[in-house]
């Protein structure tokens, strides 16, 4: 049966167009219930052992409506809930309303334990309904859901007998919808009613979102937000400005889009990361607070926030900085936040079990306090907990949220590590069974066999060795060199062939793409690929045959490239060295075996490459890292030391850079529109100018028109009596640099591809596929580029997808960096706990009520 569907749609340009689509209604959409004999089942999803609660003691399936998913997704995700039918109506509404929730829903549907089934009610002949005259789309959708629920309940009556009867239960928080459903003879509950009936899992009640029925404290009356059409119009005619809100790390009442926003009333309930509409204030009200640290917000004894805005505003001085106020929120970017319950806000006694409102202080300073309602306030004191924000009504100083789960005691190392992973949005769960199923069935016993040799060069006879930091188990690169008869050298960089195991469109690939990168913390590593691949099958360990992707150059003795060749290969590394061991080999003149000679040649070539790179204008920046000596049992840091840099570090780095550049050129020649490349934009002038002004007293300046000028001016800035000065300057310059980012080559002009720091015209990441997903994509691109018969899918040539992927990778990469930095910070704090030390330091920034110090020994700020 055919129905025509027509609706009006607004295009990007803002024109309304009419879309007419066919809409087929079918008889062959099945209920997917395990015991159903009427339907032709292909792998039924819904089990006969459905939900049972104290309130509804008969087995039943749950049908939640759209708002339940939107507001209570944490409840839905709880393992106690299973056998849920998702109506297509709901599914599509969620897709349009919120992408993050939609993705969480997709994950639930894929989780076989949860048994979520999507029922195509819109295409089912008996459940499809047409919108009535004067009926709003929402009412129509509610009715569509009810009609589908009704179909299910009659269908279930048909297929089950009295004893094993299964019911369907509609979950909705909409009172009107519920009464209508009950009038039609369906059982309908609000989420609260339902969850309170689940007596086995009382903690669920705390997880309930409390978007309604909380009265605000009316301390800071916020202005009403504009409606979305007002905002769109405002942005169109230029009275409003759109931007992503970025709150200052030092002062939570100071925020920027491109416009400065000061104070709680002007922030108007916006939270870090929200996309907001900003209105400029008249010029006379443009303000500036002197940079001050406002980190802790004081609470009065009774748990109410102090009035401190007034005193803040007295301090402001006029300036030309454009200042604005937020008048509307275009997109919320809320996520679950980690925090702890503020002691002062808990009023109940230790034994009480009544639920009360308490304030949660988020770990992220930029996030406001959050009100939650809980019965376990006393239990949760001193614990880190995860909370979600539900709403921020205009008469409440702080947003309203709900408790999600407890993470553990504050100060405990594993709890704090989990907190920092959550705060940086790092996916750190164990790999799902679906993902692990994608691994080779042989497991540890997997070996290179004859069939792997087809299409691969056999390089097992070469003297290949790997050089890595001590204790490294994911070895993704190895090197070899041999002199050629014509006096040139053949140099090979061999990279682990991860793409042999990680094929596109597999669960393994999707998981890796989502993780994006391996995250290194002080005491822990969050792998991108499962252990078996990362540390064993892909890792180029010595004296075993491993698959590799090789990049082989012919270099002259002056390190000029004669030609380059890429091939998939089989290698057998002869030695896995640490930087230190390699350095000892180079220095030890008694050693004269082939391997050692090879390393010496590589070292010579690397030095020449390095010199050439510096001549081109590459910058030597300093971002020294610290390493903790961890106590073996407690994993507590017992000492801090700087990571040492040896010649061999530079050796490996030079060849990796060379490989990356060669690969970038190759893939760009084959895929000019869809190559995944990496660029480093030149620094913006303002920050470096500030720095340049700061070192004027020493008669130095910083020029940064080209990377070369910058490198030279940094080289000049040496104070003979303070050897650390130059290093400090380099550290500070590094902090002024832009982030290097991945991008898709089709989205930019060729001249924008430049990598400023490395002074390379084109650059990508090829050499660490075990720990970076970008390299996996580059491997695929390169394989397709060198092998014209290679089967590759649309995913390698789709510009939009590639750009989206690079955005995700940039985000993950950044978060991984921040997470490992916070991990270092955490361990530094643990190290200094109860310790007093005297050390020399440098003041790097002066604020109004504080200053920032850099202590060279610990890199501590």
């Amino acid at each position: 049966m055919l129905q025509s569907k027509s609706f009006l749609k607004r295009t990007k340009k803002g024109n309304a167009i009419k879309v007419v689509q066919e809409h087929y209604l079918r008889d062959d959409i099945w209920c997917s219930v395990e015991c159903c004999k009427l339907c032709v089942q292909t792998g039924p999803v819904l089990s006969t052992s459905a939900m049972l609660t104290a309130q509804i003691p008969r087995p039943h399936y749950i049908v939640p409506d759209t708002n339940v998913f939107m507001n209570q997704i944490d409840i839905i995700e709880h393992p106690a809930l299973h056998d849920v039918i998702i109506m297509q109506t709901v599914y599509e509404e969620i897709r349009h309303l919120s992408l993050p929730i939609y993705n969480r829903l997709r994950a639930l549907i894929n989780d076989q334990k949860k048994r979520f089934y999507v029922f195509s009610n819109e295409h089912h002949r008996e459940t499809y309904i047409q919108r009535l005259k004067d009926e709003s789309p929402n009412d129509r959708n509610d009715r569509a859901i009810r009609s589908a629920v009704k179909w299910y309940s009659t269908h279930l009556k048909k297929i089950t007998n009295k004893e094993n009867h299964i019911e369907v239960v509609l979950l909705t928080d909409d009172v009107g919808n519920r009464t209508k459903a009950q009038e039609e003879g369906l059982s309908a509950f609000s989420v609260r009613e339902y969850v309170e009936g689940m007596t086995d899992t009382p903690e669920l009640v705390d997880i309930l979102g409390n978007s309604s029925n909380v009265e605000g404290d009316k301390k800071v009356p916020y202005e009403e937000h504009l409606t979305s059409s007002q905002i769109t119009n405002g942005i169109k005619n230029g009275t409003l400005h759109q931007g992503t809100l970025n709150i200052s790390m030092h002062n939570y009442l100071e925020a920027y889009t491109q416009i400065m926003i000061l104070g709680r009333p002007c922030l108007n309930r916006a939270i870090q990361g929200d996309v907001v509409a900003v209105q400029l204030l008249p010029k006379s009200e443009w303000l500036r607070t002197p940079t001050a640290v406002v980190v802790e917000e004081d609470l009065k004894e009774d748990g109410e926030p102090k009035e401190q805005n007034d005193e803040l505003e007295n301090e402001v001085i006029e300036s030309s900085q454009p200042t604005g106020k937020i008048v509307g929120i275009i997109k919320r970017n809320w996520r679950p936040y980690c925090g702890f319950i503020s002691k002062k806000s808990v009023k109940s006694s230790a034994t009480s079990t009544f639920s009360e409102n308490v304030l949660v202080v988020p770990m992220d300073r930029r996030i406001p306090y959050i009100y939650i309602r809980t019965r376990q306030a006393q239990n949760l004191m001193g614990q880190r907990i995860l909370v979600s924000i539900d709403a921020w009504p205009k008469n409440s100083t702080y947003p309203q949220g709900h408790y999600v789960r407890a993470l553990g005691a504050a100060g405990d190392k594993s709890t704090e590590t989990e907190v920092l992973l959550l705060e940086h949005d790092v996916p750190f769960q164990e790999f799902a069974s679906q993902v692990l199923n994608g691994l080779p069935v042989e497991g540890e016993a997997w070996r290179v066999t004859e069939e792997h040799l087809s299409g691969r060069a056999d390089l097992r006879h070469l003297n290949i060795c790997s050089i890595d930091p001590p204790g490294c188990t994911d070895i993704d690169d190895a090197l070899h060199v041999r002199p050629l008869p014509n006096g040139n050298y053949e140099v090979g960089v061999h990279i682990a062939d991860v793409t042999h195991f990680v094929k596109p469109f597999t669960a393994l690939d999707e998981e890796a793409a989502n993780r994006g990168t391996t995250v290194y913390l002080v005491n822990k590593r969050i792998d991108m690929l499962p252990e078996l691949l990362g540390s064993n099958l892909c890792s180029l360990r010595c004296n075993v045959d491993r698959l590799a992707f090789s990049c082989i150059w012919e270099l002259t003795s002056d390190a000029e490239i004669v030609n380059v060749n890429f091939t998939k290969s089989v290698i057998s590394s002869k030695a896995s060295l640490t930087y230190e061991e390699a350095q000892i080999l180079i220095d030890d003149t008694r050693k004269q075996d082939d391997l050692t000679k090879g390393i010496r040649i590589l070292n010579q070539l690397a030095k020449k490459l390095h010199k050439k790179r510096i001549d081109r204008g590459a910058i030597t920046l300093a971002s020294p890292e610290v390493r903790f000596q961890l106590d073996f049992d407690s994993q507590d840091p017992v000492d801090v030391e700087m990571k040492e840099l040896r010649e061999t570090n530079a050796l490996v780095e030079e060849f990796m850079l060379l490989a990356n550049i060669s690969v970038a050129e190759k893939i760009y020649s084959k895929f000019p529109a869809s190559s995944l490349l990496r660029r480093h934009p030149p620094p913006t002038s303002t920050k470096l100018e500030e720095l340049s002004n700061a070192i004027k007293p020493f008669n130095f300046s910083i020029e940064f028109e080209t990377s070369r000028a910058l490198a030279e001016s940094l080289d000049r800035a040496v104070l003979p009596d303070d050897p650390y000065f130059n290093k400090l300057l380099r550290i500070l310059t590094t902090r002024c640099m832009m982030q290097a980012v991945y991008f898709c080559s089709g989205t930019l002009q060729f001249q924008d591809f430049r990598h400023y720091g490395l002074a390379a015209g084109i650059y990508t990441h090829f050499t660490s596929p075990i720990r970076r997903y970008s390299d996996v994509i580059v491997h695929r691109l390169l394989h397709a580029a060198i092998n014209p018969d290679k089967n590759y899918g649309q995913e390698l040539v789709d510009i939009n997808k590639m750009q989206k992927l690079s955005d995700v990778l940039n985000h993950r990469h950044r978060m991984a960096q921040l997470a490992s930095r916070s991990s270092v910070e955490l361990h530094t704090n643990i190290f200094f706990k109860g310790k007093i030390e005297h050390n020399e330091g440098y003041v790097t920034r002066v604020l109004k009520n504080g200053f920032i110090v850099l202590v060279p020994k610990y890199l501590f700020l």
Partner: protein, 246 residues
Amino acid sequence: MCIITVLLILISLMDGRRANELRKIKCKPSVLSQADGSAYIEQGNTKCLAAVYGPRETRQKAQLIHNKANINVEISLAPFSMPQERKKRSKSDRRLLEIASAVKQTFEPIIMTNLFARSQIDIYLQILQFDGGTIQICINAATLALIDAGIPMQEYVCACSAGCHENHTLLDLNNAEEMADTPELTVALLPMSGKLTLLQMDSRLHVDKLEPVMNLAALGCKEIYQTLDETVREYVKDLFQKSSPY
């Protein structure tokens, strides 16, 4: 537009078809009384009217071929055929000319042109409503109109398109699906002998995917053939009844 979600529940969310199902076809021969043969055909929301004139005397001497008939194909898109853009397309629109030449090449070996030396056969195609699959509907409409005109052909020509989205093959793409960056392959087939007369694609598709996509399109062609053949038989039966003296 997202067809991916589709595969999750095995039904195209766009319109409720499964990946291997055609859109609904409606067809009617002999709709115009002035033309020698005509047909009207609907495939989903794409609607097309075909008129065939000839074999008749060549209008322009330049086009005359001394040992066979010349086939002339003209395609026009009605200004109201797309709701989005109400602009008028000229007859010399590059895209339409391309489709016209594809249609012409499809029919040249099938129509027994050597029977009508020095004459001309005109096929006029008018797209009344556009929702993807232009070439396939033009070929199908022309076949039906040629049959209605009684022009001898070796057999039916049926055309159908198929595409490929994220490793899944999809049959008979509508406009929204075409727009979703799906490689689309149009196949025209002689369904009885199984010979291929047209294979057209404008985007990239990997060789390994070509075969499944082609097979699917071929299946679609055969299904279309069934529908066309039924219509023709029904129509002939009807004619016979009307003209019989009893």
